[in-house]
């Protein structure tokens, strides 16, 4: 097929049925995103991948590519909106980058750097989100959760376990664990599950390997997240799994 559309003025080929995001990723072009992952069905919730098509806003991970489309991606207008979205995510949860084990491997942090986010800007919500350290091999630190449902999708669609789900509504939305006690230890979750390696932020952390890779040598210390598009995203290893 030789269908193509324009992404920031560059010709991007696509095959029918591909989304704008999929086609861009296949061509090695970076559209900022957090909840999208090449191996899973699109979720369309973080809205970081919002682009403009023919002057209208669209979610690039859910909108189908069409021949001749003119897609705006890395414009100042869109990146400014993305900065605001990132700030909203930062103040909604409790993100203490300097003390977070995921620092340097975190897609939220790396995307914030990429978008030039310098402060959280808004007043912090400081939600009360206790951690779950019950599992022998994995720690759940809900403070960082951005509700992307990648773990929900991985556990359901790949691991076949349904260990995670989102509960609640609005800002009370939160990740829950599928057991009577609500504790991860009381599920059949294993550190080898796909869901254990898919979190783009620092919620699902493997125990006893913390800081094995020193800060400064981590995924996004070596190259910005925008450069990662292509290698990781095409190969299916995905963001956040390098660490």
């Amino acid at each position: 097929m030789n269908d193509s559309f324009l992404l920031d003025g560059e010709d991007i080929p696509f095959t029918p049925g591909q989304t704008v995001m999929q086609a861009a990723a296949a061509a090695g072009k970076y559209i900022p995103h957090l909840c999208w992952h090449p191996d899973f069905a699109a979720h369309g919730s973080c809205k970081l991948c919002t682009v403009k098509i023919g002057g209208r806003f669209a979610t690039s991970c859910t909108v189908r590519a069409a021949a001749g489309q003119e897609v705006e991606n890395r414009t100042e207008e869109l990146d400014a909106k993305r900065r605001t979205l990132l700030q909203l995510l930062f103040v909604e949860g409790n993100h203490f980058c300097p003390s977070c084990e995921k620092s340097g491997d975190c897609a939220l942090q790396a995307t914030a750097y990429e978008m030039g986010m310098l402060t959280p800007h808004f007043d912090h919500f400081y939600p009360d989100r206790p951690v779950d350290a019950s599992h022998p091999d994995v720690l759940l630190d809900f403070n960082r959760c951005i509700l992307c449902e990648l773990c929900v999708r991985a556990s359901r669609d790949v691991d076949g376990k349904n260990v995670f789900a989102l509960a609640g509504r609005g800002t009370r939305s939160h990740l829950v664990v599928n057991s009577d006690t609500g504790r991860l230890a009381d599920t059949d979750f294993a550190a080898t599950d796909r869901a254990a390696a898919v979190c783009p932020v620092g919620v699902i952390l493997k125990k006893r390997v913390g800081f094995a890779v020193p800060i400064g040598l981590r995924t996004y210390d070596r190259k910005p997240i925008s450069a990662g598009m292509g290698a990781d995203d095409k190969a299916g290893a995905g963001i956040g799994e390098a660490g």
């Binding site: 699109a42 919730s45 909106k81 979205l85 909203l88 995510l89 789900a165 609640g168 609005g170 599928n178």
Partner: protein, 619 residues
């Protein structure tokens, strides 16, 4: 709960996981809340992950996963309820019951809280007592209610007049004066056949009455043409827009016309099954509606072989459980399938992939009733009413500062002024033209016309006279959307919460012009970036109010410079309690200036205060 009881409920719902929400509603009606063991047992019985049961149970406002008291009192908290004094009444009830709002009494007897608009704006203030609607609250009723609760009198034995709901129809036109016998419209439609009927609907130029105004003939034709194992008709009776109550009246007093309309839609699209998604706030209508459906089955007006013409169509009523978002059609379908009401990714649209993934048409209650009229009187007749782009009449729910709140049926094209005059509005400052989610008009715009091409509306008209503080209207709306955002997408979930906080900051005397700019910034972000109509419309009214009634906001500004939301002195209150101190030295504020004078470098302390310190003080 006894296992036999659970079995009985499960059997009636065919052990279908898609019935989860209906099962949860029934379980809660029996137990008063949904205990962890209940959720676990249900998950096992339905063969679904417990976490998914929890997802649904924790999404809906009227489902409680913690004990909420034998008596659960929810005050409707629309701005119109507030204008009628609901806050004082709620405080009075709490005082009499020795309660804090939002908390359950220590003996587990009662809880008192607020809920979004219950659709009784024409006869408020209103509340829900264990899900039952109580209207026209007065201090006397509140007094007596406290007595009844303390004496543990069941809600069913409370004075019957408390539960009386008036129609308050103030102006009738072709719909409210239809004069058709039950089934007459259906007979006319069967006579025309699907093709003939669809032509009449096309000729009528009927557009959806929920507010978006999508062409009904296009919706029905695309649904009919979509391939599927089954087709479905859904009547959207999740009338949640603050200030709307027209569907309540249609369901109460024009139900046969609505059912005729659903059957007609079923015939047109080739469906044998329909659902009415009835908002939980209208639970009081359920038994009456079920009874009428049963009668129609006996009369050959529903079910198998309708009117002896070989057409089969039946209707099931599903209840909502307190979620405004379920008015959005794809969220409604998710809810109908027992899931949290989060809007789907579209396309595909419901007309091709709706309920159970099958072609589904979702229509507003009023649209279906009008389709029934068109089946009898024809498209040309309908098209002659209203304006060329907005044919027919529109039901308007008028409330707020008017002498005669209620339902007004006007042909499209009526001016806002005419509506205000009919309702007896005086000294009107502002009108919200489509509830909390639409534009807010100022006096110089009252000459505009109610029509899709001018002032588009689902029918919620709230009127504010010159005595009202439009800032408080905006703040009420902001909190409404923060409460009702489903939480799926970032801009709406966090943006609505930020907006509510910004307006609270202004209300608490901490505002500056900076905050007004921030509210405008949220508006620009949420419009366009949000996943569905809720986020895309949540800031329209507030943005209008900010532009048109700016003095109401500027009055609230504390300083022309930046002001933090954080109050350093208030944050010290806990430390003062812990140390037992309350002397001037333990306070900032007035003392703060003296301190700053003594230590010139400390001047920045107030504005640069890091909110982290507030958290550090917590035990």
């Amino acid at each position: 709960m006894a296992t036999a009881e659970l079995e009985d409920i499960l059997e009636r719902h065919r052990r279908d996981p898609l019935q989860l929400l209906q099962i949860l509603i029934e379980l809660q009606a029996r137990d008063g809340w949904l205990a962890p063991a209940t959720l676990g047992a249900l998950a096992d019985a339905l063969g679904m992950p417990r976490a998914r049961v929890e997802s649904t149970a924790s999404f809906y406002s009227f489902l409680h996963t913690r004990p909420a008291g034998e008596y659960r009192i929810l005050f409707s908290d629309n701005i119109t309820d507030r204008m009628l004094g609901n806050q004082a009444l709620m405080q009075a009830l709490c005082d009499k019951l020795w309660l804090q709002p939002g908390k359950v009494s220590e003996d587990g007897l009662v809880s008192v809280a607020t809920t979004s608009c219950t659709g009784m704006c024409d006869q408020g203030p209103a509340l829900l007592a264990n899900g039952r609607t109580v209207t026209r609250l007065t201090p006397e009723r509140i007094d007596e209610m406290a007595h009844l609760i303390r004496r543990r009198v069941p809600v069913g034995d409370w004075p019957p007049e408390w539960f009386h709901v008036e129609d308050n129809i103030r102006r009738r036109d072709v719909l409210l004066d239809h004069g058709l016998a039950p089934g007459a419209a259906l007979a006319a439609a069967l006579e025309r056949g699907p093709t003939g009927l669809l032509s009449e609907i096309e000729r009528s130029a009927l557009r959806g009455r929920g507010g978006a105004g999508f062409g009904s003939d296009i919706k029905w034709r695309s649904c009919r043409d979509a391939w599927g194992d089954a087709h479905y008709v859904i009547c959207n009776a999740d009338e949640g827009e603050p200030g709307t109550f027209k569907d309540r009246v249609l369901l109460s007093s024009y139900f046969d016309l609505v059912v005729d309309g659903m059957c007609i839609a079923g015939m047109a699209i080739g469906a044998n099954k329909g659902f009415i998604y009835l908002r939980g706030e209208y639970r009081y209508l359920l038994d009456r509606l079920e009874t009428r459906l049963a009668q129609r089955r006996e009369q050959g007006l529903l079910g198998r072989n309708i009117l002896g013409r070989g057409f089969t169509f039946d209707i099931e009523i599903h209840l909502g459980a307190g979620a405004y978002i379920c008015g959005e059609e794809s969220a409604l379908i998710e809810s109908l399938e027992g899931k949290p009401g989060k809007p789907r990714i579209r396309p595909p649209f419901p007309v091709t992939n709706g309920y159970r993934g099958q072609p589904t048409t979702v229509n507003n209650v009023e649209t279906l009733a009008l389709a029934a009229l068109i089946a009898v009187r024809g498209g040309e007749w309908f098209r002659a009413i209203g304006t060329p782009a907005s044919t027919g009449t529109k039901l308007l729910s008028v409330s707020g500062d008017v002498a005669r709140p209620g339902i007004y049926e006007f042909p499209f094209g009526v001016s806002v002024t005419e509506v205000l005059e009919a309702a007896g509005a005086r000294d009107t400052q502002a009108v919200t033209s489509a509830g909390a989610a639409g534009h807010c008009l100022a006096a110089d715009e009252f000459g505009r016309r109610i029509a899709f091409e001018d002032v588009a509306t689902g029918g919620s008209i709230m009127v504010f006279d010159a005595s009202r503080d439009m800032f408080e209207v905006a703040r009420n709306f902001a909190h409404f959307f923060a409460h009702e955002s489903c939480g799926f997408c970032t801009p709406c979930r966090v943006g609505t919460a930020v907006n509510a906080r910004l307006l609270d900051k202004l209300a608490a005397d901490h505002g500056s012009p900076y905050d007004l700019d921030e509210i405008a910034k949220m508006h620009r972000l949420m419009q366009g970036a949000s996943h569905c109509g809720l986020g895309n419309t949540a800031t329209i009214a507030i943005d209008d109010m900010l532009a048109k009634f700016r003095p109401a906001f500027e009055r609230r500004l504390h300083s022309p410079d930046y002001e933090p939301a954080f109050d350093l002195d208030a944050a010290l209150s806990q430390a003062r309690r812990m140390t037992g101190r309350d002397d001037p030295g333990a306070h900032l504020g007035d003392n703060h200036e003296a301190l700053a004078e003594a230590r010139p470098h400390a001047q920045g302390a107030h504005s640069s205060a890091d909110p982290v310190s507030a958290k550090d003080l917590q035990p």
